[in-house]
């Protein structure tokens, strides 16, 4: 294995030594055996497990908090919008709870992932760790919370609103993967930026607060007959509509409404990952 691989990229500079004017990334050749997808997934699983342990180890109710938080949110929101302001949407409880599940996954992932490099500064100091895995760990941990809420949603649908799940639920994994990759694409640049400017996380918190109201989480985009720019340009609008269609209304996802988020994911993920990769060379100096 080793010597043949040495021949191709490095033979020249091993003889001649320093070559001027080449990109920094090419100055190091590491023939560390690459990790297979299986290895990456098993590391991801172990780190997610570690994250969950760290979050719930010393709390009395433990993982139950993952269910209590959205339920309390649901209570507050249905009281405000349904009872006080009189929003009328069929099956409001499950409509809003699903919206909250999707939004909470997005928001907590993004906030966690933004701080992940700073939080794991010791782990970043370990050779052999793919630093690209860290934001994915944050998003996966929050995905566990999302999945834990699913049975609760089914109960709400059945008993509060009398809706049963149709066969269109098979589309759900696709939506989850899409949201995962979209969030990952956003997380990479934010995580890198947070290493340099530590208040990125606080600014993000405020932006996401606004985002909650600009996204049809507890209201329906359909109630606005005029095409509002903030709804049209919000990639989560289409995603939320698809989630609701698939779970609540037994409709296959409307792919044209998913076009925006798909396009943004395909453009943003490679770009974000590249930026993270380049900035990660400086992590140790900025941490």
């Amino acid at each position: 294995m080793p010597i043949t691989e040495l021949e191709t990229p490095n033979a020249q500079y091993l003889k001649t030594g320093h070559l001027a004017g080449d990109p920094v990334l090419w100055r190091v050749t590491s023939v560390d055996p690459t990790r297979s997808w299986r290895q990456v997934f098993s590391l991801l699983a172990l780190l997610v497990d570690r994250e969950l342990t760290a979050t719930y180890k010393r709390s009395v109710l433990g993982t139950a908090w993952a269910l209590i938080t959205p339920l309390l949110q649901l209570f507050v929101i249905s009281f405000t919008f349904h009872s006080v302001l009189g929003t009328h949407i069929e099956g409001y409880a499950s409509f809003t709870f699903l919206g909250l599940m999707v939004w909470n996954w997005f928001q907590s992932s993004l906030i966690d992932a933004t701080g992940c490099v700073v939080k794991n500064h010791r782990l970043v100091n370990q050779p052999g760790l793919q630093r690209e895995i860290l934001p994915a760990v944050s998003i996966s941990t929050q995905l566990i919370h999302f999945v834990m809420c699913l049975p609760l949603l089914l109960i709400l649908m059945n008993y509060a609103d009398g809706i049963s799940v149709g066969p269109t639920i098979v589309w759900l994994p696709l939506l989850i993967v899409l949201q995962f990759l979209f969030t990952l694409g956003l997380s990479y640049p934010l995580a890198a930026l947070n290493v340099r400017f530590r208040d990125t996380k606080h600014i993000l918190g405020i932006v996401l607060n606004l985002g909650l109201f600009l996204t049809p989480v507890f209201y329906s985009a359909a109630t606005f007959p005029q095409h509002w720019l903030f709804l049209e340009c919000n990639p989560l609008t289409g995603l939320l509509a698809s989630y609701r269609g698939v779970i609540l209304y037994g409709q296959a996802p409307n792919f044209s409404s998913l076009a925006l988020i798909t396009a943004l994911t395909f453009a943003g993920l490679p770009l974000g990952a590249l930026m993270y990769k380049i900035r990660s060379m400086r992590f140790l100096e900025d941490l």
Binding site: I3, L19, R27, V28, L47, Q126, G128
Partner: protein, 261 residues
């Protein structure tokens, strides 16, 4: 002999940031986006060239601040050089920060599993090596306790045991061995000799020559980021002692203190 690490004219510039450097957007805005860059920089490493192959042990020696840690971090791929070329061939295992892969709330057992996964090894290899790691680190009585209950020495022993049993092709140790007690140090060196015979290259940074020189084939002596000597370890030791007579190894100092009392 198959090379494991080849370094040519490596240079690393570290930006020295003054306290006024903006660390938040708030600071950056207030200072009018001025204090963003680095105030100055200096070369922590300059023109460092060496190579080391299979079955060799390289001692990185030099005073504090000579650039040993920076060099080890370059070799581990944690930093990128600003100059020169570096080739690293093989799987790296490293102990730079003993607690790097450990989480305080998790047990020793769980932490070993994570450390193995980071090294790119599957659970089967981990299970196979686990008994040996527990045995080596002498932590059989508390391997299922959370790592936060371990003493620093125990954490160090576990970290070293893991690194020495992940089947490394390149082993990087930054000072960690100097903090271990003599008996455990000897045990580690015995294991390193065994790894060397299996084709591993070991690179050990230490400010204590007496401990490390007899174990190493070669030594690289750094002084303010430049290579003063790269040679067989005995020859480097002679140069080092002639270079700075005031800096003595730990054991020499202890011997001198004993003589005085």
């Amino acid at each position: 002999m198959i090379p494991r690490v080849v370094a040519r004219n490596l240079g690393k510039k570290l930006r020295s940031h003054n306290a006024q450097r903006s660390l938040t957007f708030q600071d950056a805005l207030i200072s009018g986006w001025k204090n963003l860059g680095s105030s100055s920089h200096h070369w922590v490493l300059k023109d460092v060239s060496f190579e080391i192959g299979e079955g060799e042990c390289l001692a990185l020696v030099g005073k504090n601040g000579a650039g040993k840690s920076t060099l080890v971090r370059l070799l581990g791929g944690l930093l990128t050089p600003d100059e020169g070329r570096l080739t690293v061939i093989g799987r790296v295992a490293a102990v730079l920060d003993p607690m790097a892969t450990f989480h305080e709330e998790q047990s020793g057992r769980e932490n070993v599993q994570v450390a193995f996964a980071i090294a790119g090894l599957d659970t089967k290899t981990c299970a196979k090596q686990f008994e040996r790691i527990v045995d080596f680190s002498e932590l059989a009585h508390c391997i299922d306790n959370p790592v936060r209950t371990y003493s620093q020495g125990m954490q160090l022993r576990l970290a070293l045991a893991v690194a020495l049993h992940t089947g490394p092709e390149i082993l990087l140790i930054d000072e960690a061995l100097s903090f271990a007690d003599d008996l455990f140090q000897e045990k580690c060196f015995r294991r390193i000799r065994q790894l060397k015979s299996e084709g591993c290259a070991a690179i050990i940074a230490s400010h204590d020559l007496a401990d490390i020189i007899p174990q190493a084939n070669r030594a690289l002596l750094l002084e303010s980021g430049r290579v003063v000597a790269f040679d067989y370890s005995e020859i480097v030791r002679q140069k080092y002692s002639s270079l700075s007579t005031e800096v003595k190894s730990r054991s020499e100092l202890i011997a001198a203190a004993r003589k005085r009392s």
